[in-house]
Symmetry: C2
Subunit: 308 residues, 2 copies
């Protein structure tokens, strides 16, 4: 479907969640382009109000949108929030709760909420548009990786999926930190900015699963990859780390000569060291974990079906 929509829109529609995490718009009279992204979360599809509060939903809606800016190396200018609630009178508490969560995340990320819109709808839908810029140079695309690049991830994966599993299993099960990762993820804005400033070749955020998002980066760049390690969050399984999604860690391809400098820059900035997971290869068809083919594990959108 996404291909049909792109074809309906002609060449103008460059960023429907596939090509890059965010759209890049030139602004007349300025050198630095605008980076913009929109994401919707829908009750029953993206969240379950039995497992997360409406405030958590608002937090996560803004952070997942900001994660797209992080993956371009952009800093947020502001956000706009379009809220659909089932009933404007009965749903007032819901709307206010969601916006409180948005406000908490906005304060944490330094992203003012500049505008919004509230409508009635059958389902609770939160659509967040975020706008940002890069300080200098170009935003980082998915497509810039080349053979020999070192692949890093900013943190262990699978925590969010493990947290969701724990919530479904009932109270007291598993690692508390993973429940927080599921309900209150944090966009890696500082890490993304630093990687952009250090000349990272390509980035993507881990929203649908480390394996699937790495395949997408590899597709866009025309490369293969050989992973030798996958950092798994405590309490999570390898499958959750590869296919769980919603970790919002950043996956980075960095030139081999710049890998050391990136790690140093992270250390100087007080950020956790990026975790080396493997290297990019020249043969696009060769994509492995510890020597074995790695499938496209993860959450597929838009009528695509998992092939992994």
């Amino acid at each position: 479907m996404v291909q049909r929509i792109r074809s309906a829109l002609g060449g103008g529609f460059e960023a429907l969640g596939l090509r890059d995490d965010a759209a890049v718009l030139a602004v007349p009279g300025t050198a630095s382009p605008l980076v913009a992204s929109v994401d919707s979360v829908v009750e029953g599809v993206h969240f379950d109000l039995a497992l997360s509060s409406v405030t958590d939903v608002g937090w996560k809606a803004l952070m997942s949108a900001l994660s797209d800016l992080a993956a371009m190396g952009a800093s947020p200018l502001g956000a706009l929030v379009a809220l659909c609630v089932p009933d404007l009178v009965v749903g007032a508490d819901t709307a206010v709760g969601v916006m409180e969560g948005v406000a908490e995340a906005a304060a944490a990320a330094g992203c003012p909420v500049a505008g919004g819109d509230v409508s009635e709808s059958d389902a609770l839908v939160v659509s967040v548009t975020v706008l940002g810029t890069v300080a200098s140079g170009a935003p980082v695309a998915r497509s810039g990786a080349s053979a020999g690049d070192v692949l890093f991830v900013t943190g262990a994966c699978g925590g969010s999926a493990a947290g969701l599993r724990q919530l479904r299993s009932g109270p007291g099960v598993g690692v508390v930190e993973n429940v927080r990762r599921h309900r209150r993820p944090v966009a890696r804005l500082a890490e993304g900015r630093l990687a952009q400033a250090q000349g990272a070749h390509a980035m993507i955020d881990v929203s649908d699963g480390l394996a699937l998002d790495l395949h997408r980066l590899a597709d866009a760049s025309g490369i293969g990859f050989a992973l030798d390690a996958v950092p798994v969050a405590e309490g999570a399984s390898l499958e959750e780390a590869l296919g769980g999604g919603e970790d919002y860690e950043l996956l980075m391809a960095v030139g081999a000569e710049g890998a050391e400098a990136l790690a140093s820059a992270f250390e100087v900035a007080g950020l956790a060291a990026p975790l080396r997971i493997g290297v990019a290869g020249a043969t696009a068809a060769t994509r492995t974990l510890e020597g074995r083919p790695l499938g496209r594990l993860g959450w597929q959108h838009g009528g695509d079906h998992p092939t992994g």
Copy 2:
């Protein structure tokens, strides 16, 4: 509810469909601010697929968002579209149809669609974010009108409401042009730009009804008004012109000394002459049409109730 949401968000949330048509964001390193607005349209609330095609829905969703830019005097840089469709497989034709309408409106308005997102949801929801800038000077707010200003509207009102009434009455009834106005409204971008360049004091677009939107401009500016004429679209009633909404004409307050120059500038640009409807008054409580108090006729959002 909107007040509670604004209070949850503190001072940062300046443009929740009330204060101005669009948010204004400063961009570091540039003099000209970014103008941004988001609008959602929801099946069963804002449109009826028995009366409009999905392509019409897409057209109108983009144009109504662009109308918010027009009301600030801004030119569009681009749009992002978040689409929620009831089923990603069955709904694929719907999604493509909506995006074709968006693409047609985007081409007509010169606003590239730069990004988007497609999700599943119980209801069809189209959320459009538009971004724009003004060539020089500041965007036009709702709040700048003062006593003695001349009030103009860019065209006759009520056509969209009359068109909706005609569609509900069945085929062959009424003025065909009004059906087009209902299904395929046009944002007054050129008119808004010109009014901004000519120093219009305040603007708002007629989205919820000429009377209600004029009251909003008057509230924001702390003025009253005396209308001596309301231009009614052919086939529409006076009530439809005052309270029908969705005309997307611009309502402008212009200094008395600049009114002549505005009309000339419109003529030179080949635009239809702005229609003088009255003047702004110093007493905020005095708001009249032909000497009689004019109520807040129009479509009220967010749990407010009509008082007119």
